[in-house]
């Protein structure tokens, strides 16, 4: 596209960037499914609003004329053949409304559309008053895993004109253990995982502004950055995200739009760190958080943009030039650091990098300043071609983390060197397998990408990046996300890969966790602030990983045993040990002043088969054993393809 403007003082050059801001009021029914007949209309109402709404629009449904009718409906849980939300207990429908013509009546219904019938929870006619009023209707659901089909909330108007605003369907009960706007099942899943960091980056936010990000949910506008049509989804808010981090005890890692201005950045710092007397501190207080968020968290990670190098995927929200982006980071983060509310120890200002191209990161760093970290996403196992045996699949899969992280030719090793020379640190904004293409058939793909072997691989990768590269902030991608498309480069068949979600669902039809989740959960039971050097000797078996057609992985001397020891500086000790043999149990012993001794709890993740998954049943599980008199010199056998965690008090 071409943008025209008045001639600036300096002539534009190829390679310059232009940021376009627009506001599109109206179209209130975006995101809703609508129908009208007989001349009924759906329009935006800007002036006749409820005194309690935080927003600037309402929906006006005009259908009072003879033969006129209109419906507006909202659906959720619409994934074909699966359910990710089973409704249990009491729920309430709330909305604001006002009758402005005709009978002032609106038909309210809420139902689950099953394959053969509808599960109707609410179906009634509501007569509205002629003034704005809040309406609440309760119902009870008892879905036990078999209610598969989209759920639908609908307002139907015929012979009336009404104003509608601020609609919700929520569980009635709010427990003290979950004061957030997130579902109980989501919060419970995160509490079990016990993550050190939570990251939120949303494509629905890339065209947003700081003011919109911190707005209340019912006032938050849809935000676009590219494409030919309007966006329908509203991003989660920063306040809600910070509430979630606080509740689960994790540091927040938040991506702000790449086009954020220096002034916006200063406003954000004030929002997070200013007291209630400041303009943006007052906005925070109005949302219910009086104390600065910087007093809640040890550090808040803020990244400018997301994957600026990935212009092809994120056009319109990417400054796809490492020098230009580096300059922009210097300007925007420089503004942050000039804020009177900025405290260096409270923030980690992150410049986005490119894991696969260390050169790109070096260019960014050389052209920038004012950043604290450079982020990378070192995904693994992009292609799955050789599926001739379990060894062909899992030999290279298990070798790849060490090849990337611990060997001088590895891309992550090189990124680490660039960071070290630039006196900065790396953070991992996303990591997982990324098996999205190859010649594997569906069944083999499932048994690889969602297997216990995959879970071990990702956890090993993350721990190697702590041990060998000093990367202490890392985030698995992601919590939800049932499947993605897989391109079969041989047959062209439409396949799906069981990535990137680490859970099947949370409170849906299965409530199952994938092995990637379980491996991180188990690792988090052992990770303590200080990593101690753990030195392997004796058998210390290795294998020669020949060149594979899966990601061109090759490594001589790949280690079967990988170990990671931790201390809390007081009495707690732990050690995580992987056995990456695909076939053979390996015995280990321990020595040293911090070797496990006495009463030791042993947690372990493995399964009967390396290809086992939890896609349909709870096959892969963490087991826990208490050993009352652990002897470090006595051989302990690690099963093949296993992760074992020893925790004890020194």
């Amino acid at each position: 596209m071409t943008i025209n403007f008045a001639a600036p003082s300096a002539a534009p050059k190829v390679g310059d960037f232009v940021i376009i801001h627009m506001k599109f009021p109206g179209n209130p029914q975006a995101g809703w499914w609508t129908s009208t007949s007989g001349g009924a209309t759906l329009t935006a109402e800007y002036s006749d609003l409820s005194a309690e709404t935080p927003g600037t629009q309402a929906l006006r449904v005009t259908a009072a004329g003879s033969g006129q009718s209109a419906t507006v409906a909202s659906y959720f849980d619409s994934y074909t053949t699966r359910s990710f939300v089973q409704m249990k207990g009491q729920y309430q429908i709330t909305f604001k409304a006002k009758g402005v013509g005709g009978t002032n009546q609106v038909g309210l219904s809420f139902m689950r559309n099953l394959a053969s019938s509808n599960l109707v929870y609410v179906n009634q006619t509501v007569t509205l008053t002629s003034g704005w009023q809040d309406y609440t209707y309760t119902f009870t659901a008892n879905e036990t895993g078999t209610a598969i089909g989209p759920a639908k909330l609908q307002f139907a108007v015929s012979g009336a004109s009404v104003l509608l605003d601020d609609v919700s369907v929520t569980p009635v009960t709010v427990t003290s253990s979950n004061p957030t706007p997130f579902r109980d099942e989501v919060v419970d899943t995160l509490k079990t995982l016990n993550p050190g960091v939570l990251r939120y980056n949303d494509g629905s936010n890339t065209g947003s502004t700081i003011d919109n990000i911190i707005a209340p949910a019912f006032a938050r506008q849809r935000a676009g950055a590219n494409g030919a049509s309007e966006y329908d989804d509203v991003a989660l808010g920063l306040h809600e995200f910070l509430q979630l981090c606080q509740t689960v005890g994790a540091e927040p890692y938040y991506n702000i739009p790449a086009a954020a201005s220096p002034t916006e950045m200063q406003n954000l710092i004030e929002y997070l760190a200013g007291d209630s007397s400041t303009t943006y501190g007052a906005k925070r207080t109005a949302m219910g958080q009086a104390a600065p968020w910087t007093s809640v968290f040890p550090v808040i990670h803020l990244e400018l943009g997301n994957e600026q190098w990935n212009w092809g995927t994120f056009p319109g929200s990417a400054i796809n030039d490492p020098v230009a982006y580096g300059n922009r980071v210097a300007t925007v983060f420089g503004a942050a650091k000039s804020s009177p509310y900025y405290n260096a120890s409270s923030f980690d200002l992150v410049m986005g990098g490119w894991a696969d191209v260390p050169w790109w990161n070096s260019q960014e760093m050389a052209s920038s300043s004012n950043f604290d970290s450079v982020s990378v996403a070192p995904y693994l196992y992009y292609t799955l071609n050789d599926t001739s045996s379990n060894e062909a699949i899992f030999g290279p899969m298990f070798a790849q983390p060490e090849m990337q992280d611990s060997v001088s030719t590895g891309t992550m090793y090189q990124n680490g060197q660039y960071a070290k020379s630039g006196n900065t640190k790396l953070v991992v904004y996303e990591v997982n397998l990324s098996t999205l293409s190859g010649t594997a058939n569906q069944a083999t793909l499932n048994g690889a990408a969602a297997s216990v072997g995959a879970g071990l691989t990702v956890a090993d990768h993350m721990l190697l990046m702590v041990r060998d590269l000093g990367i202490t902030t890392q985030n698995l991608w992601a919590l939800p996300g049932y499947t993605n498309s897989f391109t079969n480069t041989s047959t062209g068949a439409a396949e799906t890969t069981p990535l990137f979600g680490s859970v099947i669902d949370m409170g849906g039809q299965t409530n199952l966790r994938r092995p990637t989740y379980l491996a991180e959960q188990l690792a988090n039971t052992a990770i303590l602030p200080t990593m101690l050097q753990a030195t392997a000797s004796g058998a210390n078996p290795t294998w020669v990983q020949p060149l594979s057609t899966n990601d061109s992985i090759q490594l001589n001397g790949a280690h079967e045993i990988q170990s990671f020891a931790f201390s809390d500086g007081a009495n707690k000790r732990s050690v995580i040990v992987f056995n990456l043999s695909r076939t053979t149990a390996r015995p280990i012993t321990f020595t040293g002043v911090n070797a496990p001794t006495g009463a030791v709890t042993v947690g372990q993740l493995t399964s009967a088969n390396i290809t086992d998954t939890n896609e349909t049943n709870s096959t892969v599980n963490i087991t826990t054993t208490a050993i009352s008199n652990f002897q470090p010199s006595t051989q302990y056998s690690l099963p093949a393809y296993s992760m074992t965690v020893f925790t004890w008090q020194q």
Binding site: V18, F24, G55, E520
Partner: protein
């Protein structure tokens, strides 16, 4: 929940119970300010299936001039976790294959056991973990359960082991637990994150737009971004606004709000 009309019935939603727990006065505890008798459905002693169940109380006032009243509450019944009993097996000598003498866990309810390692496997010398996953037949009312024990394999030599020495040398400090990306919500996706299940524009609000263009061709008054999907969201509606910020890579921001002359 209280039905309209007197006498009023008070009945708080009872705390969740675990499957197998019989209904008792802990749950069936409706009260009224008026004298009378309560009957419940299901009655005390009933064992209900896991899930959310409806309890109903019928109150018959002593004063026959008053009408019979009913009230109901919901009771959440969590699945029970079977108890697995698995005695620590006696030590076996190197070369002994695992058998039912070692893989002999029992459970409090019917179901199937999946052991790891499997029956017939030969273990290495030293302490070996054994684990089992138990899947109950009645999955509607019982959770999957796991258990583990260790078994000592005697004989052999220790020379084949890998020794891990953990001393006092600090490898890394400031280590934190591994993190997680949450995701936003998108229609047809699997990520229903929020309590409010109406997540698409619940406030009927408008849209804002912010797009970054990279100039692949320029004139003194224009910038062209060749990417086909960097385009506008449509015509500006009344009340809309468009601002253009130019940002030159040679220096710092040289923002200026410039007149919009057209978008093509």
């Amino acid at each position: 929940m209280v039905n309209a009309g007197a006498p009023a019935i008070t009945w708080a939603t009872p705390a969740a119970i675990t499957y197998g727990t019989a209904l008792s006065s802990t749950q069936l505890n409706a009260s009224s300010t008026t004298a009378g008798t309560f009957t419940y459905s299901p009655a005390a002693g009933a064992v209900l299936s896991a899930g959310t169940q409806k309890l109903t109380a019928t109150f018959t006032p002593t004063d026959k001039t008053q009408s019979t009243q009913t009230a109901s509450v919901t009771l959440v019944i969590n699945k029970a976790t079977p108890t697995i009993t698995w005695p620590t097996p006696a030590p076996i000598s190197l070369g002994t294959l695992l058998s039912v003498l070692q893989l002999n866990a029992t459970a409090s309810v019917p179901g199937t056991f999946l052991y790891n390692p499997l029956l017939g496997v030969s273990l290495s010398a030293g302490t070996n973990p054994l684990s089992v996953t138990f899947t109950p037949t009645d999955t509607a009312n019982y959770n999957t359960a796991t258990a583990s024990v260790t078994i000592t394999v005697t004989g052999g030599t220790t020379g084949s082991a890998t020794n891990i020495d953990i001393g006092t040398t600090v490898s890394q400090s400031g280590v934190k637990r591994l993190g997680m990306n949450i995701a936003g919500q998108a229609f047809y996706d699997s990520s229903q994150m929020l309590r409010n299940l109406v997540f698409r524009n619940p406030g009927f609000e408008g849209e804002i737009w912010q797009s970054i263009l990279k100039c692949t061709a320029v004139t003194t008054t224009s910038c062209t971004d060749a990417h086909s999907v960097v385009s506008m969201a449509g015509e500006l509606r009344p009340g809309g606004d468009l601002r253009v910020h130019l940002w030159w890579r040679e220096g710092h921001d040289r923002y200026s709000d410039l007149e919009h002359r057209g978008v093509g």
